[in-house]
Amino acid sequence: MLRISCPWCGPRDEPEFRWGGEVPVLRPGPPEAVSDSAWAQYLFVRDNPKGWVRERWVHAFGCRQWLIVVRNTVTHEIRATARLTEPLPEVTP
């Protein structure tokens, strides 16, 4: 069970959070200018790397803020967490 350091509330157990997928994912628009493949890319295609990945999680049972988590998909190690307003941490998978 992960222990995630919420930038607002401090370290909390994983069940207090909900996972929100990889970031960044840019929502394309306006809809009439978006091709089917670009929309499918946005909906379904993710890097899913082996190694370091940036994700967004929400502290649902706490401050209800979304945050950035830099997590290793192999070891589950968490290297950093950040607020959405902070610059997105760099990763090299």
Binding site: W8, R12, D13, P15, E16, F61, G62, C63, R64, Q65
Partner: protein, 190 residues
């Protein structure tokens, strides 16, 4: 005028948490006659000024509570605080704050009926709460003035330490009180 009722009024014989002592080591006291206002503002300076003028309280930082007289401010989220105040002042202070914040992006919501507040005290407090909450709630890890939004017995809960080493105030959404009472009673019978 309609009669105003709290969940404590409708708790039936035999499942009454207000019989004060749930078990030898744990005392549960419903917090009555308190009003709650949820303060949301994107403009913290405006909210700060309004609060200082109305009740003389500063906004506490993350994970903290501040209090002054009958007023308690609990940090909730980066732009949200919960103000606990005497029930009879709820409407007037709510309206006064709304007026002061009229030009800011702010919202004052009466939460008096939305949450149920309990004071839980006694020597077994941390042991009992830590059987349903993953936070470290022992006195040295959860000192006076600390606020945590977390989950207690699978229910979203706001916990805060009003001072001293053996009391925690707990606010949960109205409707979950029966579940929490049943859980507390069962946990505390050791």
């Amino acid at each position: 005028m309609l009669e105003h009722r709290t969940p404590f009024d409708s708790i039936r014989e035999g499942e009454d948490p207000g019989s004060a002592t749930i078990a030898r080591e744990l005392i549960v006291t419903p917090v009555r006659d308190k009003g709650l206002l949820l303060l949301q503002s994107a403009c913290l300076q405006a909210l700060q000024t309004a609060l200082e003028r109305e009740i003389g309280l500063r906004l506490p930082p993350a994970q903290q509570a501040s209090w002054h007289g009958p007023y308690v401010l609990l940090w909730q989220t980066p732009a949200q605080w919960l103000l606990q105040l005497p029930a009879r002042e709820c409407d007037s202070i709510g309206a006064a704050l709304s007026d002061r914040l009229a030009s800011a992006l702010a919202a004052i919501t009466d939460f008096s009926d939305a949450l149920v507040a309990l004071e839980v005290g006694g020597a077994g407090l941390a042991d009992v709460f830590m059987s349903g909450c993953s936070l470290d709630l022992r006195a040295d890890a959860f000192p006076p003035g600390r606020v945590a939004r977390t989950s207690l017995a699978d229910v979203p809960a706001i916990l805060w330490n009003p001072g001293g080493s053996d009391r925690i105030h707990c606010l949960i959404e109205r409707g979950f009180e029966t579940h929490l009472f049943a859980w507390l009673k069962g946990t505390a019978t050791r």
